[in-house]
């Protein structure tokens, strides 16, 4: 059906972007002036190790050859081997993807749960005190570093009250969800300023539209008019904004996972950077990049599903 063809087409459009990503990720190590091997290994590695690395990565060969080598390996599913642990990157990463995805999902759901009611409240009470209070949220929220929010949340809701775990992931589904509440909330707090602003603006526009008057003229309750007619329309541009910012959210998972000790790919990335484990950094950079592009495609598809005026071409 139409939707499926559209999805496929968008996925195909991803290919050049992913290719560009791959190229960039590959070029990363070569962008730095100096010896790539030494950059990878940090200051003062033993010469033997440097030589071994050179051999392994073919760093003596021309750039194009190296790139081809890189791509072939990728296509075979070989993402490299961790310098720190010797374990193939693929193995290290695959276990850790689900927690990150779960975190992103929980974060997005929380964001919507918080933003939609607040934005609606603000739009309906335009220029009265609820509106002013709610509009302060984006002003404050922009400058709130997520790690700081995380620390405050841990202090208030975990350490002092013990309602939620201060970290860790748990081993079964209920425990895992419980563990994701604070991290999800942290992410939501980071995203809500943007979504509130966007949804409120969209709602203000929509509420002035004629079809809202039509809905009222049918004798529908204000609640139904608001949610079934107004929000239903206003959420469409907001989904685009959300999609654009989820890329940023995905980057945010790095910090959140690290602080809350969630075993996802974000925490893995941070560790890999600190340990200078280049193959892992490279592999994860690629994966994160693909994830972000995927999310954008998803947002696009969702938007066209919600808005029949958009042609699915």
């Amino acid at each position: 059906m139409r939707e499926l063809r559209y999805l496929v087409r968008r996925l195909l459009q991803m290919v050049p972007v992913v290719f560009g990503l791959t190229l960039l990720v590959f070029l990363l190590i070569h962008l730095v002036p100096g010896d790539p091997a030494r950059t990878m290994l940090g200051p003062r590695p033993p010469q033997a190790v440097v030589d071994a690395l050179r051999q392994e990565w073919g760093l003596d060969r021309p750039l194009v050859e190296q790139f081809l080598l890189f791509v072939t390996r990728l296509l075979q599913g070989d993402l490299g081997v961790s310098l720190a642990s010797g374990v193939p990157a693929g193995d290290l990463i695959s276990d850790r993807v689900p927690p990150t995805l779960a975190l992103v999902l929980v974060g997005t759901v929380f964001t919507l749960l918080i933003s939609v009611p607040l934005a609606t409240l603000a739009a309906v009470n335009l220029n009265r005190w609820p509106d002013h209070v709610i509009r302060a949220v984006p002003l404050l929220g922009l400058g709130m570093p997520s790690f700081w929010v995380a620390i405050i949340l841990i202090l208030a809701l975990a350490l002092t009250t013990g309602w939620f775990p201060a970290g860790g992931y748990g081993s079964n589904l209920p425990e895992q969800f419980h563990a994701l509440v604070l991290p999800g909330l942290t992410i939501a707090i980071a995203l809500t300023p943007i979504t509130i602003r966007s949804l409120r603006a969209a709602l203000l526009e929509v509420l002035d539209a004629d079809y809202i008057a039509t809905a009222r003229s049918k004798g529908l309750t204000e609640g139904r008019v608001l949610f079934f007619h107004a929000v239903r329309n206003a959420i469409i541009p907001t989904i685009t904004v959300l999609g654009v910012n989820i890329g940023w959210l995905i980057g945010n998972t790095l910090i959140v996972e690290k602080i809350f000790a969630i075993p996802g790919i974000g925490a893995l990335m941070v560790d890999a950077i600190l340990e200078r484990d280049f193959p892992i950094v490279q592999a994860l950079a690629l994966i994160f990049g693909v994830l972000v592009v995927l999310v954008n495609v998803l947002a696009d598809v969702t938007r066209s599903l919600l808005d029949p005026r958009l042609k699915l071409t």
């Binding site: 972007v17 560009g20 990503l21 960039l24 990720v25 990363l28 190590i29 962008l31 730095v32 950059t39 984006p138 002003l139 404050l140 922009l142 400058g143 709130m144 570093p145 997520s146 790690f147 700081w148 929010v149 620390i151 405050i152 841990i154 202090l155 350490l159 002092t160 890329g247 940023w248 995905i250 980057g251 945010n252 790095l254 910090i255 690290k258 990335m269 941070v270 950077i273 600190l274 200078r276 280049f278 950094v281 950079a285 994160f288 990049g289 972000v292 592009v293």
Partner: protein
Amino acid sequence: MATAAQDVPTLLASPHPRLRRRWTRNVSLLLGATLLGTLVFCALAAPLLSPYDPIAQDLGNRLASPSPSHLLGTDHLGRDVFTRLLYAARIDLQVGFLGIITPFVVGTVLGAIAGYYGGLLDTAITGLTSLVMAFPYYVLIISLVFVFGRGTQGIYVAVALVVWVSYARIVRGEVATARQQDYVLAARAAGFSDLRILGRHILPNAITQAVVYAMSDIVVIIVGIVTLSYLGLGVPPPTPDWGTMIDDGQAFITTHPHLSTIPGLVVVLTGLALSLLGDGLAEQLKPE
């Protein structure tokens, strides 16, 4: 020609932004400017405001509670927290304000060129912006941080490479619209050089939106460097930085919560100041 030149000045009365219009009643602008001014002042006047050395350790006086001699107490190495806060402002504010310059300038210039000349140049520049925008920003930052290691270079380079696109798009749009206006056509007819037209007449208006946008970008950059420092990838110790302060204080979160909480609050305050300023400017410079 003489007649044309005489007519031109009147025709060239381009609509300049109303900078002096009722700014006294613009709450956001006043509040934002005052707040920011205070913060900048504190940063600049740090040596005057505090007698302590931000990196001098005093291991005999560790984790002291707030007192008249140490307004916010001392940290785990005996350093005065208040002083460190002030000096951290220097570094973090500097990164924010300096970091925005390159992308702002590059983006504005490219955007102006694209919007003014159109055609192939426009297509090329717009294509470039689309390409960069499609790229996940965070991946680039993280990778560059990896490449450059600790310090502030990573963030300067990353920001310069990625953030310019917003300004290019904004300025391009404004310039393209302005280009069609009467006063520009008159100026071109009068033979004024493109540079003069752009510089004196179009850009002052076109740039106002970009400036407003820059305010929020500065916040993003500051939060970025603070985050990197928290992770150990930013400003290297012992230079004080809000992020490192939060990191240092995290171990003592239950006994001395203020060590981690207060630096974060200052970041939020900075963000608030810049956002208010941005909103106020947007309100002020709106065409009547």
